[in-house]
């Protein structure tokens, strides 16, 4: 469970998050959408403290992300998938998956290797364990990145525009992996413009504008009858 309590963030004088109060339930699949600059990427990056906040609290499973607890320990239970993949180019795919679990002593080497292979099979890349990230397509890299995050057996997965850097024909292979994760009951927060994904998979859609969550609704309700003019305009714009 993720709870935002009066969260505000400034970049200098610019208010990026404006008094956010919201909750993501255990097992919920949340899609965060909104125009560029609305604060959605900033919001998702605050959940594992990639961005500092100036006001409020964020609780993940009851623990204050900005409190005194071990940040590294907390992050190891939250998977993060980046727009630009950020695979480690000097390691092959298997090493990308094994490095953190072994280094952080969550698994022995052979166990981590088996786990890595199982995850690669699951994202359809069992045959790419020895490949280097530079040898893979964008869609394959992003699937490896998801598998790398899953290798730590996270309780929550965060996706920050995971398909925005991909060629159109590769978007689906990544969305399919995300859908299978959602079907298993993973708690997921996805910043994405893929409205079909939102419609098919999300339990809730948050629409953000100017650093605020303007609407929170189930996808069918959000798409059929958005409450605000801003959201209706956004939906009209991305449909064209």
């Amino acid at each position: 469970m993720i709870e935002f309590k009066n969260v505000s963030k400034w970049y200098g004088d610019y208010l990026a998050l404006d008094d956010i109060n919201a909750t993501v339930r255990q097992g919920e699949v949340l899609v965060v959408c909104g125009p560029s600059g609305s604060g959605k990427s900033t919001l998702i990056r605050t959940i594992n403290r990639l961005e500092p906040i100036q006001k409020g609290n964020i609780l993940v499973d009851g623990a204050d992300v900005y409190g005194g607890g071990s940040l590294d320990e907390m992050r190891s239970h939250i998977g993060f998938v980046f727009q630009s993949f950020n695979l480690f180019p000097h390691m092959n795919v298997r090493e990308n998956l094994m490095m953190a679990p072994v280094l952080l002593k969550r698994m022995g080497k052979s166990q981590a290797r088996d786990h890595a292979h199982a995850l690669l099979e699951r994202v359809g890349l069992g045959h790419k364990a020895d490949a280097y990230p530079g040898e893979l397509s964008g869609g394959q890299q992003q699937r490896v990145a998801i598998a790398r995050a899953l290798a730590m057996k996270p309780r929550i997965m965060l996706f920050d525009e995971p398909t925005s850097a991909l060629d159109p024909e590769m978007v689906n292979e990544v969305l399919l992996v995300m859908k299978s994760l959602a079907a298993e009951g993973m708690t997921m927060v996805c910043v994405t413009h893929e409205m079909n994904f939102a419609r098919d998979v999300a339990d809730t859609v948050w629409f953000m504008d100017a650093g605020r969550i303007v609407e929170q609704a189930p996808p069918e309700q959000f798409f059929a009858q958005a409450q605000t003019e801003r959201a209706r305009k956004f939906l009209a714009d991305i449909r064209h």
Binding site: D72, P89, L103
Partner: protein, 230 residues
Amino acid sequence: MLEILSDNWLLLLVGQWPNGPMGGLVATVGLALASLALAFPIGVLLALGRISSHKIFYWPATAVVYLVRGLPLIMFIFWAYFFLPLLIGNSVSGVVTMAAALIIYEGAYLSEIIRSGIQALPAGQMEAGRSLGLSHMQTMRKIVLPQALYNTIPSMLSQFISTVKETSLGFVISVHELTFAAAQVNNMLLTKPFEVFTLLALTYFVLNLILTGIVKLVEARMGGTRTVTA
């Protein structure tokens, strides 16, 4: 000039060795290699200090780098020559003195090369490591430094070429290296300084031409591999 070379090639190559200390060209290359190798860990530590957000690491590292880069190498040679014996309470050989000066000097220059290599990596590499639960140091050690150091190999090799040339300053404290050997030859011949020092210049030039060729080869081999996409 060829006659000078055929009469003195051994002295120019190894100095008085095996009857005295290793000198000549071998000492020049050896001194440069050893100095740069020992400067490397110092360079890494200074680079980490320079990018640290902790003031107690940032300020000393920055001070050292600015100080070293703002002074000529010969100042460090003099300081090492006069103060190293006082510091350790023992007399110190010329070659060790020279190495000490070079290690500090090259350490500062290497640190700037390494720092630029670290900062040239996409910020996403550090974020990806930290998001998996790795600490800052673990991410540095496993993810950032392996890439940054690999990417800066050509620049570090170029620094080696500079170091080779800088070893000639060891002459002023009588380090037995190539320039010292050439000066010995000059003192023996007395009447042929133009030829001797042309020979010396040619030797440095050819050596560094070869090293430059190696740098180019390495750069060509590295091109295209292990690049970060997106």
